[in-house]
Amino acid sequence: MDLGNNEMFLSNDMLHEKQGHNSLIEDNIITSINNSRRGSLVTQDSEFELDDALLTGSDLDYDYEDELDDMIVLPITNAKRKQINEGGVPNLEYECLTTKDIFNRMLERVNHLQPIFSLPLEDIIILMQHYDWNEERLLEKWTDKMDDLLTEIGLIHENGNLTVNERGVALKEDFECGICCEVKSVEVFSLECGHEYCIECYRRYIQGRLHSGNIITCMGCSVALKNEDIDEIMGYESSNKLMYSSIKSFVSKHHRNYKWCPYTDCKCIIHLDDTSSLSEYSRLHYSPFVKCNALHRFCFSCGFEIHAPADCDITNAWIKKARKESENLNWVLSNTKECPKCSVNIEKDGGCNHMVCSSCKYEFCWICEGEWAPHGKSFYQCTLYKNEDGKYNKSSSQEANKLMKKYTFYYRMFNEHEVSAKLDWKLGQTVGIKVKSLQEKIGVSWIEGQFLAESLRTLNEGRTALKWSFAVAFYSDPSHNLTKIFVDNQALLSKAVEDLSELLQIKDPELIMRRKPDFYNKAGYVQNRTNALMECGRDLLCKGICKLTD
């Protein structure tokens, strides 16, 4: 939205003049969270930035993540460059990828590795897959114990004999398959190990494993099936499915640098190479919002939709609270624990406290939720047991009741805006039609009609900010003056959003064109109010007026 229109609006709107105490906040527009403008901010002091990049290198990252830097070559030449914007936090340099992009990069790496290994590409893919696409770990092991590694992964048959039996499909008469136990004339598949099974059994077997992302082996032993074998059995390019599921598990294992776009059916993955500045964001109560190629904006830290003015902690607490109140999820809370690493809910269905997260493969102790490794040989010695029972019973029932009422009020507000946002979304579907009719009926160019889509985007952002502001309000000290200012700001944004929403209901194309300045004004106002509310909320967080209480 063009900010140049603000002046025009300032003289028009009475409300703004009345609320003198907001004007300071209003001027302070948060550009840090507006990543869409990233490209337009030109670096001013390149020397300083270079130093900065050196100082805040990824020293804190784990080794495998350092490895990632090498593995995935960024196409953006200035990717390492950092900028300090007005908000005081470094701009995030990220890119939006799909599983296909990542897979192609993996293939590039495999091609690079080929001269080192002097193995067929197919074999290197298996090796990389086994090591979660981590080249460094693979090379380390490779120089150490090459033959053991090949046997372990199933590239060499245990007897060390590679060429006794031929790999592939053959037609056999009166063959008895050891899996389905049928005797028939059928195509039979076998690897070097010589275990022969009918192709139908192999198909069923592979079908069930393509989505696991793990290496698929012979049905009778540990010799690995290569992609070409899978394609031979399952049909052309079937192995891609396995590769993509392997990439998926790669993404969830490297969730510090890679995040799926949380929007339904969106296939985008955001890759943030250098995560060192994220702590700076949380320290200043900003949230690192990113935008995927489908224009969905979400928070890179918590993977949730854009939630300003609330920060990630407030958002998390709010969502958990909302869930806790829901009867359905009581069971989940009492019977599951979150994986300490990737936050997937895990139900314990066996006796052993050695848990392995099925999503990110993190190994941890059920009792203390700490890493498993130090527990190793001293099973059940975990002394870190924390009794959480009774934690929620501390407050008396009366107090709980009061709290419940307060929560219900804020939740209803939150929910109302969520519902409205959904309705706005539906409204958005008609905007496209409107733009089209503008073009057809009054000959407005496509670019000229874009103000409608922009207004809608602004409306959505305002709505979302408003929604999350109720989470902030819930955790804020109601007696503090700043909280009162915050509530005033909520009211102002609320009004602005409703006005803009009303404007967007207009259907007559000519009237829309005539009121184009109104669209600019109202949308500009919504944006200003949104920014003001966000900044005010951040102020509450920074000053500790809004904080989580146990």
Partner: protein, 157 residues
């Protein structure tokens, strides 16, 4: 039940009746109407000669899921069975019975039974499944052996 699962289980039964290791038994259970339930078996595993386990024959239940043989059967000893790799519920922790580890569709009932017989006398201290037996096994061998001998008597023929 899928036809593949059923077909394979019938074959497993045929093979077992033709040839099975000495001292072992395995048979499908019966449904209420008296017909065979091929997805649920009962079996007995004798302890190996020359070990503390040899006196006993240890009862197993084997449950085959519909996805068998893509997925492994679930094999259980009686609840509370004393062994470092047996969960309190009786479920056995063995790599060939784990889909994500060493289960292969070609593994037969005979291999499973022999695998469990092996496990009895050579537990794997690195994947403990219950506390008492694991603790005794790694810290107090004398007590462990006493308990094993006692358990063998309890399950003797």
């Amino acid at each position: 039940m899928s036809s593949l699962c059923l077909q394979r289980l019938q074959e497993e039964r045929k093979k077992w009746r033709k040839d099975h290791p000495f001292g072992f038994f395995a048979k499908p259970t019966k449904k209420q109407d008296g017909s065979l339930n091929l997805q649920r078996w009962e079996a007995g595993i004798p302890g190996k000669e020359g070990t503390l386990w040899h006196e006993g024959v240890y009862p197993l239940t084997i449950e085959y899921p519909d996805e068998y043989p893509s997925k492994p059967p679930k094999v259980k000893l009686p609840a509370g069975f004393y062994h470092p790799n047996v969960y309190p519920s009786g479920t056995i922790c063995l790599s060939i019975l784990n889909e994500d580890q060493d289960w292969r569709p070609a593994i037969t009932l005979k291999q499973i039974c022999l695998g469990i017989q092996d496990l009895l006398d050579s537990p794997n201290p690195n994947s403990p499944a219950q506390e008492p037996a694991w603790r005794a096994f790694s810290k107090n061998k004398a007590e462990y052996e006493k308990k094993i001998a006692l358990q063998a008597k309890q399950y003797s023929k």
